[in-house]
Every structure is written in C-alpha cells, then in structure tokens.
Symmetry: C2
Subunit: 313 residues, 2 copies
C-alpha cells in the first residue's frame, strides 16, 4: 500500500506524519521551526526530516505517493506563498522546493486552517461526510469549508473567514480587522473572556468569576458547569452569536455537518448543546438540519489534512 507524508508547519514546531492511503498514521514526530534568517532553513529541515524517515524505514520514493504541507498564511492555488509573516517568508513555493528535495515526489500546499478542516473531514469528526464546515474556537475563530472532499479556498483565499462576518451592528468595540461586530469578538477564547468582563461590569450578580484576578475561557466554562449563572449567560451569548455564523454557512453552502474544534471545544457537549439550541432557533426554515459535532483529531488535524492533500482519492 502506498504511503504519504503530512506536514503541519507552525511558527515554533513542525509536526510531521507518515500515513497509509487509508488514513492510518504510521509515524508521528516533530522538529523545531527555525525562523531565523527569514525562515530560510525551514524547508531544508523538513526535507531532511522526510528523507531521514524514508532512509530509516527503508522507503523508496516510489512508495510515497506524495506529501502535503499546511502553511500558516495564504496559499495560492498553485502553491505559491506571497508572504508568511510568522515564518518570515516572501515569495516561496514550499511544495515546489520540497518536491525537488524529495526527488520529484509531488508536494501540495494549503492554508493551515483549511488543511486542518480537511483532516477533520477525512478522518475526524466529519468522517463519512463529503461536505463539512470545520470551526476552530481557539484564541481566535477559524473556519475551513470542505465540499465534495475538497478545500474551498475561494478566489482570494478569503473563504472560511467566518471570524470576520458582521453579526452585531450595535457593537461599539472594534475588532483587529478594523470592523465592528465581527463574530470573533464573541465566539472564541478571547471573545468569551471579553463577554465575561462585559457581563460582570453590567450587573451586580454574584459570580465566582468576580474572585479571579485574570479570567480565562476555561474559567468561564468551569464556572458555568459548576452552576454559576453569570458564567452560563456568557456562554449562552457566545454560542448564540456563533449559531448565527453557522446559519450563514448553512444558507450559503449547506454543509452535511459542522465540526467544532479548538481549545474552547474541550468544554464538550455542555457547550455544543447551547450552540445546537441557538442554531435550531435560527434555522426555522430547514426541515433537516446538519449535525453539529465535536472535532476528534485535536492538534493532529493538520498532519491528517496535509496527508490527505497528497492523495487523489
């Protein structure tokens, strides 16, 4: 059976995986990301890591059907990366460079959020579904759209920028993007903390959150789970806005399933049940609604999706 490599290139670590075509992971390891001198050593390090692994396991290049790499920035359809702030790159085609190092094994590049979504669609929470919208609730809000098993990048790579849809025109605080009322202001770790501070300031209601010097999204989730009513109200509001965002996705591409991952999703069904309830409220028109499921691959979604990029299933 043929094999492929999945590469998830992050700002501090490169995650690497060797996969069977079926999606079974054979090896998984990491190397540091050397960002010095505008990241000029990164691809060399990755190429050597892959060649080393092939030598170690006695794999010929004929046995490797290809490799995929997730990049933390915009990637053009031909794999060209005009710039990547986190890595210091300008005008690199990482797939082309790696392919040359690997003796012609094809290497495909994609944006890391989209690639992670592809991983969840292939082997994670969206397994068995051809069209999946994967939402990542981390420090910010990310989203990747997979249709018929392929990443939807959009014409200028803006597809899945769900964090910046305007949901609340009444909002007075500005988002990093310059707009006001973006979904990311409410529905991610930072957004939950922001909402918590706002709810605390807006009332005198007792809450364990008042005793904390700094508040994290996990504090809010833990308090809500323990019955803290103010914390619960914060999560309700956060999921209400997110549900509106999922509605937009449904009424534009109507995916089979939503998969929710990222640090905040560790709150599990306690949080997702709120999201499902608000989503159902918005989707009055829909006879059958897509399921909202938890992501299952965690930090490995990127290497899975990158490996999937290399396969023409």
């Amino acid at each position: 059976m043929k094999k492929c490599f999945g590469i998830d290139l992050g700002g501090t670590t490169v995650k690497l995986g060797l996969f069977e075509e079926t999606g079974a992971v054979l090896e998984k390891w990491e190397i540091p990301t050397r960002t010095e001198e505008n990241g000029k050593y990164i691809l060399e390090d990755i190429g050597n890591a892959l060649l080393g692994k092939m030598a170690e396991l006695g794999l010929s290049k004929e046995e490797i059907v290809g490799a995929g790499i997730g990049i933390p920035g915009p990637v053009m359809p031909d794999g060209h990366v005009a710039f990547c702030v986190n890595l210091g790159w300008k005008n690199v085609n990482p797939g082309k460079v790696l392919s040359e190092m690997l003796g012609g094994i094809p290497v495909y590049g994609g944006n890391d959020a989209n690639v992670a979504a592809l991983g969840e669609q292939w082997q994670g929470g969206g397994k068995g579904h051809a069209s999946v919208a994967a939402v990542t609730l981390g420090t910010g809000l990310g989203c990747g759209i997979i249709m018929n098993g392929k990443i939807v990048s959009g014409n200028k790579g803006m597809a899945g920028e769900l964090g910046h849809v305007t949901v609340n025109r009444e909002e007075t605080e500005a988002c990093n993007c310059g707009n006001k009322g973006c979904l990311e202001l409410y529905s991610c770790a930072t957004g939950i903390v922001r909402l918590a501070k706002r709810h605390l300031a807006a009332s005198e209601e007792a809450s364990v959150l008042r005793n904390l010097e700094t508040i994290t999204a996990k504090d809010v989730v833990d308090a809500a789970k323990a019955g803290d009513s103010l914390a619960d109200g914060v999560l309700e509001e956060s999921m209400d806005w997110l549900a509106q965002g999922l509605m937009f996705v449904s009424y534009v591409v109507d995916p089979e399933v939503f998969v929710v991952g990222g640090g905040v999703s560790r709150a599990g069904d306690f949080l997702l049940d709120k999201l499902r309830r608000h989503y159902d409220r918005f989707m009055v028109m829909a006879a059958e609604k897509p399921e909202i499921k938890l992501a299952t691959l965690g930090n490995d979604a990127g290497i899975y999706g990158a490996a999937r990029l290399a396969l023409d299933l």
Copy 2:
C-alpha cells in the same frame, strides 16, 4: 457541432431554447404550463415540444448532446422532485421521464434559481468567471452559488438561501419563514416597499412618495434617481443590508464575482453603486474584492443555465 436544449419550467409558462455547445442560442420559444390534474401533462407537453422542434429542424437525437430543466422547487442530486407546490407534482423525476420520451437523450434537472445562476455564470454577467454568486432581486431575494462552473446545491438544497440569513436582530416584523430580521425583509422589491413605508412613517420629510396611493420598488428607484432624498435613503438602507449578505457569501466561499439580477436590478448602476460602496465598507479585511456586476440575460438566464446543465464542458 452538437446541440442541447434548455428548459425553464415556470408556473404559467415553459421557456424552451435550442443551443449550440458554445452557448449560442439557435431557437427560443414558449409553451403554456398546464398545471391541471397535478401537472400530469407538463412533461408530455415539453417532450412533444422538443420532439416537434427536432422534426421541424431535421435534427436526429445523435445531434443533441442532452437537455437540462430548471424546476421551481427543490431537486435532489439524482433529479428526483419530492414535491413542487406550484406545479402540483409529487415524487417525479422529470429528467428521467423526459429522457425516456426523447429516446434516451440525457436530461438533467436542477432548481430554477440555481439553474438561472449557472446561466449567468456561463453566458451572462459572470461569463469568464468559474465561481459566481448570482443574486436575484425580485419579489423576494434569491441566490445561486456556482463554484468551478458547477451549481452548489448543498446537502439539503439550502445553499444560496441568502434571503433568510438574519442580518438584523433588532427587527420586530416577522418574515414569511417565521424568523425576524431576514435579509429578504430589506433587499428585494417587497423589502424596498416595506422600507419606504417605514421611512415615510418615521419622519415628516417631504417626498414624492407621499403622493402615491400605492408604492412600488420602481417608484422608489425613480424618485431616488430624480433626487428625492427620502427615497434615496430607502435604497441606501436596502443596499446596506444586502452588502452585509454579500459579505457573508464572501467570507464563506469567496466568489470571483457577484452578479445581481431580477426586476429591481433594472435600476442599474445607480443602485449597484450604493451596494458596492456598502460592500467595500464591510470588506475592510480584503485586499482585493470581487466585482459586483449586473446580470445580462434577464428572463433567459433559466434556459441558458438549463442548457449548460446538459453540457459536460
């Protein structure tokens, strides 16, 4: 050169067209839609019309590469129509029935709004672009999404239901769908009339609209073009909400171009310039934004798109 038929099945009229594979229309005609007895004669009438045209022009079935038909209701990927209220149909596969009548010529079915969007992408305002979002501002607001030259129907046919995305949570009036604050409440002929009445009631501002017994969307456009400030404000608000809807489409699938059609779009660039200005305001993040263009095929978009369905370009 091979030819194909495009059929646009409406509640009162069936529009038919014979096309070259290149998109050139050779013949265009109409027959009435006989909805009596739950529409049982409709497909027979269409089949006979096509067979008649082939006989008239001396075309053999080998010269016809296929036909497409746009249906005013939901169509499953296999062409099955579970119900179609306007026609009285239940559990019909119109493509299959027509194909049998036509001696095996393949016939493909699709939802009429999506098929019209495909027509605009193929030979209309979106010509030359592989991914197009076509918005129709008629009595209601319709939308069809075309990606890589193919219709995006979505899992349950809800893709492109842009009229029912919630844009305004502060709205107190309900939409037909049961929700409040749907885009369709503001951005279509009915929505413009509704906004006009609201603006008239909310101020004492002089306006020619005050002299009218009944107000149409065209009245509002004409008044605004003639310098009526209240009417202009109505169109500004209408296009402001629509711009927010286009933003959702951009941040979900990022099309190359938007094409705006339907009766309201006859207002032309006077209206579209307002839309473009509001859209640009929302899309602060985007370095390059998709163009917003006028549809060009008018009522023929359906037969063009249906003909395109029949071609595997």
